[in-house]
């Protein structure tokens, strides 16, 4: 028990450090490069979109696929359907696009999920990888998605592209997602998810329909990813097949793996930190006086760090940094040592 409490305290320390770091990063970059903060928020939503299927024990790497669909929906609607709305592009229409993305992604997820979610473990992960690749190639080839070039000139609701003002939409979205997931975790459906994650067979025997709830969590994740994509489409002003790739799957996986896969705060914090990491590294690279190879490493080596973080994280913190344990105040340690300590204080012996 002692080792795990050391680990827990370590994790607590890391978490506090992480939160402080995130706050600092937000403060700094909101002045210098607002787009980074918006990306942090969008990526946090994406991380939650991976977290949702994970609640039922399913590792799905499909989020980038739905993110791409969402972006394309926003791009297509705003450039082809909502054409005479003047500038700036009205925010309510963006909300409409987000809603449409959610609906479409949810629908596709159910369609794909019902057959695919009979798979488990690596097989499911592989199926989701395949799905993302198929969607990517489709995006490259279809006319409606603009082929390899993609869609340009997505209308803007704010004065500048990638402006900090996108936070007006991104932050409520993030807060809503966090609220949604947190409340879901505590509810009847959330318990069903947890049961499936722990032992699908036993959950089944206790009356929980596995297919229904697995597809549900998958679809909810897909909807969230789609909504994030719709927002990102406007934010980035252009959208193409490079937005929904296997690489993105790995990044999102890193957010959840490092941040924490057992509680909803983990993915959010992980995403916030790791999204800002590249920028931070780039700034480190600007420090004068460091050797050229280190400069190169800082500027271009962020994926090396990501990769190593994933590998290290898988070993040291398989549930990520932020686990439910670190929130438990009172830990009733029932080890003999603890009992004895209590006994000594009470003047009795428990031996």
């Amino acid at each position: 028990m002692n080792q795990s409490s050391t680990n827990t305290n370590l994790a607590r320390a890391f978490t506090i450090g992480a939160i402080l770091a995130v706050v600092l990063l937000i403060v700094r970059y909101s002045q210098v490069r607002g787009s980074v903060v918006v990306l942090m928020a969008i990526n946090a939503v994406l991380a939650l979109s991976l977290y949702l299927p994970l609640m039922t024990g399913q590792l799905s790497l499909a989020s980038p696929g739905f993110y791409a669909i969402g972006g394309y929906i926003a791009a297509i609607f705003s450039t082809k359907v909502f054409t005479n709305v003047g500038t700036p592009f009205p925010i309510p229409l963006i909300i409409v696009e987000m809603a449409i993305s959610a609906a479409v992604c949810g629908f596709v997820a159910v369609l794909v999920g019902i057959p695919a979610l009979r798979l488990r473990g690596i097989y499911l992960a592989l199926a989701t990888i395949a799905l993302v690749e198929i969607l990517r190639v489709a995006a490259l080839n279809l006319e409606i998605t603009g082929g390899a070039v993609g869609i340009f000139g997505i209308p803007q609701p704010f004065a500048t592209i990638a402006s900090l003002e996108y936070l007006y939409i991104a932050v409520p979205l993030l807060l809503f997602s966090m609220f949604f997931v947190a409340r879901l975790e505590q509810s009847r459906v959330g318990r069903a998810f947890a049961a499936l994650r722990e032992d699908e067979l036993a959950a089944n025997a206790m009356g929980i329909n596995p297919t229904y709830f697995k597809v549900l969590s998958f679809a909810l994740g897909a909807m969230l990813a789609g909504v994030a994509g719709a927002l990102a489409g406007h934010f980035l002003n252009t959208w193409n097949a490079r937005q929904g790739t296997f690489d993105a799957s790995i990044l999102i996986l890193a957010y959840v793996l490092v941040g924490g896969s057992r509680t909803f705060i983990g993915p959010v914090l992980g995403a916030a930190l790791l999204s800002a990491l590249p920028e931070l590294l780039r700034d480190l690279g600007d420090i004068s006086g460091i050797p050229a190879w280190l400069v190169s490493f800082f500027k271009d080596g962020r994926l090396i760090i990501f990769g190593m973080l994933i590998a290290a994280g898988a070993y040291f913190f398989p549930y990520g940094l932020i686990t439910p344990e670190i929130f438990r105040r009172r830990k009733r340690e029932l080890t003999p040592r603890a009992l004895n300590k209590a006994a000594v204080q009470e003047g009795k012996s428990h031996l």
Binding site: I122, V137, L253
Partner: protein
Amino acid sequence: MVQLSLFQRRNLPRLVLIVLGGLLLVNLIASPPQRQQLLNGLAIGSVYAIFALGYTLIFSILRIINFAHGAVFTVGAYFTYFLVGSPVGFNGILAQQRLPFSMTFVVAMFVGAVGAGLLSILLEWLAFRPLRAKGADPLLTLVSSLGVAIAIVNIIQLLVGAEVYSYPANPFNPILEPVFGKIPPAVNFGTPDAPVPVRTIQIIIFVFSMIIVAILTWWINATKVGKALRAVSEDATTSDLLGINTDRLIMITFFVSGFVGAIAGTLVGLSVSIKGPYFGIDFGLKGLAVIVLGGLGDIPGAVVGGLLIGLAEAFVPSAQVAWKEAVAFAVLFIILLVRPQGLLGRVVVQKV
């Protein structure tokens, strides 16, 4: 969940017969364009096959998907490139540098493969063994291997940039010409009026791959080490109890997997040039389709899967050629839904 099918010696001759028979048959009946597609398919398929071999070897012994195989594949290709004495490009930390010595191509390929094999052992020791000791979920190991792969590929990029690197032309000629006489750049499988040219290098790659398959199958079936490997893949605990040094065996497997993977990388580089460090990741992804199609952990399956996917890609009608990239993944998705144990794998019943 999926039990590997036994490495059956009888599958190999069957496989060879099927391949040869198929080739003969098709050559007789197919029209030149179709013949071209067929041969192209076999050429690229054989490359997928040897890549998948290393992948599936690791799965058969450890029940994990080692995504870092794609990175080792890449490293092997780059090792060969530099050992031949070629210089680094304009980007990367090591820009414009080259090794102070150079080797002939075949030696470079071999040495590079040994290096890759050693790297593979290092990765197993650093990343997989600790996870195995913890009893980690195979999914977690897959994720970890993903991280390793990304890290390695980007280290390569950092060091030598992402440009296209090509090997010297016709590197096998010095060896083959004394035996076969002058080697033409392409061989015509058709008629003078309707030529069906296949680049000689493709033929060499195909033959090479088949030789490697044969050697591996022999190794697994006939040697003591190979038999131990089969034992461990059937039941690791019992094998351990029977005195088989599983740790050493795992190291050997990783070495062989890395070695073969590196050779695959070099051969791909020969065929289409090294397109950049990420080509290993792309191959790694497609390799997943190959090994699942053939059956995870099944050696002949890797070959069958590779050839089939190569053929499937080659036969995509030219009007839809852009969709070629999706073929492997469509196959992967469908196979997972319909027959997750793959073509040659066998399903195991789980005890409740």
